[in-house]
Symmetry: C2
Subunit: 283 residues, 2 copies
Amino acid sequence: MSETPGLQSSSRMHGGRVETLRHASACSACDMQLSVFVPPQAEQGPVPVLYWLSGLTCTDENFTTKAGAQRWAAECGLMLVAPDTSPRGEHVPDDPEGAWDLGHGAGFYVNATQEPWSANYRMYDYVVDELPALIEAHYPVDPARRAISGHSMGGHGALVAALRNPGRYRSVSAFAPICSPTRCGWGHKAFGSYLGDDRAAWEEHDACLLIERRGCELPLLVDQGDADGFLDAQLRPELLHEACATAGVELELRMQPGYDHSYFFIASFIEDHVRFHARHLGA
Amino acid sequence: MSETPGLQSSSRMHGGRVETLRHASACSACDMQLSVFVPPQAEQGPVPVLYWLSGLTCTDENFTTKAGAQRWAAECGLMLVAPDTSPRGEHVPDDPEGAWDLGHGAGFYVNATQEPWSANYRMYDYVVDELPALIEAHYPVDPARRAISGHSMGGHGALVAALRNPGRYRSVSAFAPICSPTRCGWGHKAFGSYLGDDRAAWEEHDACLLIERRGCELPLLVDQGDADGFLDAQLRPELLHEACATAGVELELRMQPGYDHSYFFIASFIEDHVRFHARHLGA
């Protein structure tokens, strides 16, 4: 392994370390920041990795500082990798009205084909290809043992990345994912902007449609709070439930009574998700 | 119990709830914000309380969103209360140069006697008297079972509050406390500004001098990272060790190899602190 590129900070945590990196991303045509948790077991040899995709308005920091996942990743011997949610920088186009659901902080994990987005907004390729290649070149990880998870927009991203790339991940989970972006306001706005009118492209980024068309062999765990203010209009877990039922796909969908959309919800159940992935990764 | 005053938000977490409150503080002559974690056991009857005092630049949010203490407080049945670190508001004086170690975010848990601070900067009385009275009036807590902890400036605040008020707390702990503010730069600046030249007043807010003069009957746990950039100039745990040795006070001082001053350090050991307090509180 070569030297870690662009190490911004390193702090000891739970016997391992939390690192922040910056690197020149080819996909995003800008510097991208990410956070990595290296568990203590990585000193003995390659460990499996859980990728985490965050939601609208987040950076790599939210999950790293708020979810408490490192406690369980250190116990199980899992590396955690949390990228940013979009390209960033003064030269990277943003929504002209400064909306929080488009542009910076809202890459939606697609490869934009429309202007002014197409030069930088390629978060799908970034997450599926460039990021794992970077991690696997610089950290002691086992490339055959990847898992992916995320929250809200990132739950959508995790599901789509896993569903479209059979064999690339061993398990997938999500907290309050946007289950069917072709059928909610956030998805319409983002896909319309980044992908234009090409409905076929939209459908390739809709977890429910992908499951109905291709099925899913992966272990699949979803937690959703029933007091989540975005539940009915944006997240729509009932569509994921229906898609899995139609396709004969096994889904563990847990409706959590009284929980909202915040990181307090994620922190409450992250232990279960880390253990779920660790089990399927043989960690 | 009367209705919770100024409830700003409530989120379910670990089977309990995280609440943010605002109230008109008599001590501080301004509105003060605080965070409370109510464990699930509070539905069955009064629970003990752990007060947490944060460090320089923090608000009530840092501990609440980053430390991960709720996981263990929910298991042990402890309420957590995290106040802000100073009075706030446009009418509340701040350091004219905007320094982060004086004024807003830097109350230092003393009662200021000097101008322009004396009308608002009374964090000692706020933490020791007004805050517990507020909590005990509105939440199902057992007033005979209080503990206190904190980080850095808040570690100093927790030690001093416990040492000066025998019988008020059952246990005290700290992460990287400012052990002897009469002998470090942060303390000189804050005490000089808030308390003026009155050295006797300074000494009443120095944990080491208090221990040497009055001893300490309370269980006392301190964690300190040995890669903490403030260790030698500001924190000086060796002075606490010496004071306890001189006074015959039992201190569990754990030097944690490789850990820095951040919340990643706190999150790594907060479980031990919550369990330590729970044990002494009979939770």
